[in-house]
Each structure stands twice: as C-alpha cells, then as structure tokens.
Symmetry: C2
C-alpha cells in the first residue's frame, strides 16, 4: 500500500530532518513524505528539501507545494491572535 | 499579450512587496507575477503571497512553486562558496 509520512519541521538542526526523510524513504513501500512547517521554520523546510535532493536522494521530486496561513494564539500579555504563514512540501521518489 | 512581472523579494517590509503585486495586477493585461527570493527572504516571500491573497486579492492563485539552490560567493575572509535555498512563487488571478 502506498504510504505517506508527515515530518513536522521545527527548530532542530536541518540534518536531523534530512535523516528523518532518508529513513522514511528507506522503509520500503513509502511513496510520499510531506514536510510541514510554519513561520521561521519555513526556511528550514526548504533547506532540508534542497539538502536532501542535492546531496542524498538524487531522484527526489517536489510533487507539490502548498502555502497557507494559520492562526496562532496571542502571546502572553497580548490579546490579539497572530497570523502565521505555513508551507507543506510533498516529496516523492521518481 | 499575456505579460509576466518578476518581483525580487529582499529585506524591505512585506507590505512594500504586497503593493508591488497589487500594482502589477492593476496594470491591465498582466497574467502572472513571479516572486523570487533566496535565504531568509523565502519566509518574507511566503508572507507576502499570503497577505496579498487573504487580505487584498481574493482570487489570487498560487500557480506554481519552484524550490532551488543557488551558489553564493564566499563571505569576506572565507574561501568556500555557500549554498543558499531559493524559491519562486508564480501567482495568477483566477
């Protein structure tokens, strides 16, 4: 069965997410890995995809990129919720 | 003739790029605006697209997103060139 793994990109070093992608695709029947990130981690997500594709998985393809907006609860001491940009990068092997 | 504008996203405030997009689409025959950014400006580019779509141009569509890598010259005092992630976001009106 074609599987899909979701990897949430946060503030760990990019290489830890690269390894997570490599591990996911090594597990056999997996067809797709989706990277999800918001705010500053969007840059990390793009870096992770590019490092993985250019250095480790040469046949990696970006199948789809979805941009969006999420509402975040107000910071402590503030009253207004904040809008934050999001990205989803769907990856597959050719 | 269907035109295409390219807007390079740098470190100005996001709203100045939002205005550039609105101005481009107001100019008549234009069919597509492409946002190009690299490095930290990738986050700005996504924010700019989301602000424009959610607040100003309701029928804005993300037609295509291309991720890539560019080689930057070494910083002063360094010898190795650096790799930097890039994004191109193609926008159109539905």
């Amino acid at each position: 069965m074609a599987g899909q793994d979701v990897i949430f990109i946060g503030n760990k070093p990019p290489m830890s997410y690269v390894l997570a992608i490599i591990t996911s695709f090594s597990s056999g029947s997996l067809r797709e890995v989706v990277l999800k990130a918001r705010g500053a981690a969007i840059l990390t997500a793009v870096d992770v995809e590019e490092i993985t594709r250019t250095r480790f998985i040469k046949d990696l393809k970006v199948k789809n990129v979805v941009l969006g907006t999420a509402e975040m609860p107000p910071r402590e001491g503030e009253t207004k919720s904040r809008m934050i940009s999001t990205i989803e990068i769907a990856l597959s092997r050719a």
